[in-house]
């Protein structure tokens, strides 16, 4: 079932938690709500779940307005960040609870629990209580409780944030596969941009209750709509330098920096007085020898991760980072030369933050 937010706003007293949200999730699609803590992403999920009242606007499930329905009438399944397993019930009872509430027959419940447990490799744990489970196991039970019935949508609230890094990568894959095989519309909340980019069909980036950009992961990465998205998505984040455009020289200038701009960007830059130049670390070229037009810098710190090496360096007063092949190494304070890939420069209006063009 598709889900649609139309002009949805949520206020807590004076504070605006979500402002005029318009968002459509296609049937079977997995949309990730991405943003820092307090950006309103969890509030959106809870409003959709029916756990939080909407101040204004409407939420649709298919053609039906569900803005004021109770959670059970909406029939979504939700996985909480803390898993919210019922501590006084065994794993089997936890899994069975949604079915029991729906007055299923005992034998049907037992069969379904068995089936789901097998699918999530919980069969040997069925008799245990939640407190006797590891983090990953609890996570699987929470997931099992969601998929045991056929909900209108899955709502996942940071489901992976409480398990350790290694398990997280594995669960991420499991989740993606599971969602694909079940084909259920899914809304997924996270603050982890890697999770967002790997899982989502589309990502909605939020800040301070306002939707910043909605698009496929690669579009978000490669064509950030504004400074916030540019800075938030990507690790390490995009290099951002504020300055102005010298149209006579066809170049971006900031103190200590001078970067020639391609024609397209120059045209776009005419709309703004001050601009911010952005370039992803992997689009920064770095060398020990100078070439024409390259700029000088000094290495601040060099981090090798194996496959690639992250170099943080200073150019005048600016701190920039570059992603170079893992074979390269630099010393502290080593003098380096760098340049930006002209085809992958981003320009933003420094006043509004909007991407140019």
């Amino acid at each position: 079932m598709e889900i649609r937010f139309e002009h949805v706003t949520k206020n807590y007293g004076e504070v605006v938690a979500v402002a005029d949200l318009n968002l459509e999730v296609q049937a079977g699609e997995l949309v990730v709500l991405l943003g820092p803590t307090g950006c309103g992403k969890t509030t959106i999920l809870r409003m959709l779940a029916g756990l939080e009242a909407v101040t204004s606007g409407e939420i649709y499930l298919g053609e039906r307005v569900i803005t004021h329905l109770s959670p059970r009438a909406r029939d979504f399944a939700m996985v909480f960040q803390s898993y919210a397993l019922y501590p006084h019930m065994s794993v089997a009872e936890n899994l069975a609870y949604p079915l029991r509430v729906r007055h299923w027959r005992q034998d049907q419940i037992a069969a379904t629990v068995k089936q789901v447990a097998a699918r999530l490799e919980l069969t040997s744990l069925l008799a245990r209580r939640p407190r006797e489970l590891s983090g990953g196991e609890r996570q699987r039970v929470a997931l099992g409780r969601a998929i045991i019935r056929n909900p209108n949508a899955f709502l996942l609230d940071e489901p992976l944030s409480n398990i350790d890094a290694k398990l997280r990568l594995q669960m991420r894959m499991e989740l993606k596969h599971l969602q694909h095989s079940l084909g259920v519309t899914t809304l997924y909340v996270t603050h982890d941009q890697a999770e967002a980019l790997t899982l989502a069909h589309r990502v909605a980036v939020l800040q301070k209750g306002v939707l910043q950009q909605l698009g496929e992961p690669m579009a978000i990465y490669h064509r950030p709509a504004n400074l916030f998205v540019a800075g938030f998505v990507g690790s390490p984040p995009m290099n951002l330098v504020e300055g102005s455009v010298d149209f006579s020289a066809a170049a971006f200038t900031a103190r200590d920096l001078r970067v020639p701009l391609p024609e397209a960007l120059l045209t776009a830059a005419r709309q703004a007085a001050r601009v911010t130049l952005g370039v992803r670390p992997e689009r920064v070229r770095l060398a020990r020898q100078a070439e024409t037009g390259w700029l000088a810098g000094r290495v601040y710190v060099c981090e090798a991760t194996g496959n690639e090496t992250l170099v943080s360096f200073r150019a005048g007063e600016h701190r920039l980072s570059a992603r170079v092949p893992g074979t390269q190494r630099y010393d502290f304070e080593e003098a380096v030369w760098f340049t930006f890939d002209p085809a992958h420069l981003h320009l933003f209006d420094a006043a509004t933050g909007q991407a140019l063009p």
Partner: protein, 300 residues
């Protein structure tokens, strides 16, 4: 099929509000019925003469009523003393029993016993225990070689108040203990595990984790006890009737005398409003003190 019905019942906010109303209404109704009429009745009493004329005279009289002042002061001493002791002892016992321990159930049940004793019996039996000649306390002390000639307990001008406080502590520490234990047992385990990893000492664990987490329970326990202590009546009435020489007279006892023994319900009502006002102020202060610093329990 329930679902179709569900969709009719409308707004979420409204549904919750309706549920809240439904859940609250019976309790509020009972309490309102039982408190509103007596309250208005007492207000009218406190402001009229026996013939029904309006008068502020009863309240004016309170200001020159030195005996009531003394009774109020003693009520505070009684309340503060009993509350402090009961909280300290109750907390200690709750902490002691909040662990796996052979015979824990037995200890817990036995420790509750004083609370079960009818207050009349408790007061009378303590009067007997305190008796300087036949009493078990002095008798035991004497057999241990203690000179008890000056130990008059409830008969001593100086020891009487402390002695009646002790009876209260004996009877009501179990209440604190029971409530705090229930509170302790529902505390989450993670902070403790974390603290153990951090190598905190027992005292640090108590101060930094147990106490802050337990504070809502402490608030409730202290508040409920406070209200009863400020109105203490039965046990003192039987133990000492307020004596010797007014040393254990409390506000409630004094109000009772005026209302029922001197048959001056008007003055009794006026006095009780003074006590009510003080109780309100003290409990508001206590709520602010204990709740104010707690991180808001509301969902983030």
């Amino acid at each position: 099929m329930a679902e179709t019905q569900e969709s009719v019942h409308g707004e979420l906010g409204r549904a919750d509000r309706r549920l809240a109303l439904l859940l609250l209404a019976p309790a509020v109704l009972v309490l309102f019925t039982l408190s509103a009429y007596p309250l208005f009745y007492s207000i009218r009493l406190s402001l009229t003469t026996p013939t029904g004329a309006w008068t502020p005279g009863h309240f004016q009289r309170i200001f020159s009523d030195r005996l009531f002042g003394t009774a109020l002061l003693q009520t505070f001493l009684y309340t503060a003393g009993a509350l402090a002791l009961e909280l300290a002892l109750g907390l200690l016992l709750a902490l002691l029993l909040n662990r796996s321990l052979a015979g824990r159930n037995l200890f817990r049940t036995l420790l509750l016993l004083p609370m079960l004793m009818p207050p009349v019996v408790a007061a009378v039996i303590w009067r007997l225990l305190y008796n300087p000649s036949f009493g078990l306390i002095n008798g035991t002390l004497q057999s241990l070689g203690v000179d008890t000639s000056g130990l008059l307990w409830i008969a001593g001008q100086r020891t009487a108040l402390a002695s009646v406080i002790l009876v209260d502590v004996w009877q009501w520490t179990p209440f604190m203990f029971l409530l705090l234990l229930a509170g302790l047992q529902s505390l989450p385990a993670e902070p403790y595990e974390a603290a153990q990893m951090d190598g905190a000492t027992r005292w640090q664990v108590f101060r930094d984790i147990t106490w802050p987490l337990l504070r809502p329970t402490v608030l409730v326990a202290v508040l409920l006890r406070l209200l009863d202590l400020l109105r203490v009546f039965d046990q003192i009435f039987i133990l000492t009737e307020g004596g010797p020489g007014f040393a254990t007279e409390t506000a409630s006892l004094y109000i009772y005398r005026n209302a029922f023994r001197f048959v001056n319900f008007h003055y009794g009502a006026a006095l009780s409003f003074v006590l009510l006002a003080i109780t309100t102020v003290v409990s508001l202060w206590l709520i602010r003190m204990l709740r104010g610093r707690t991180p808001a329990a509301e969902r983030s």
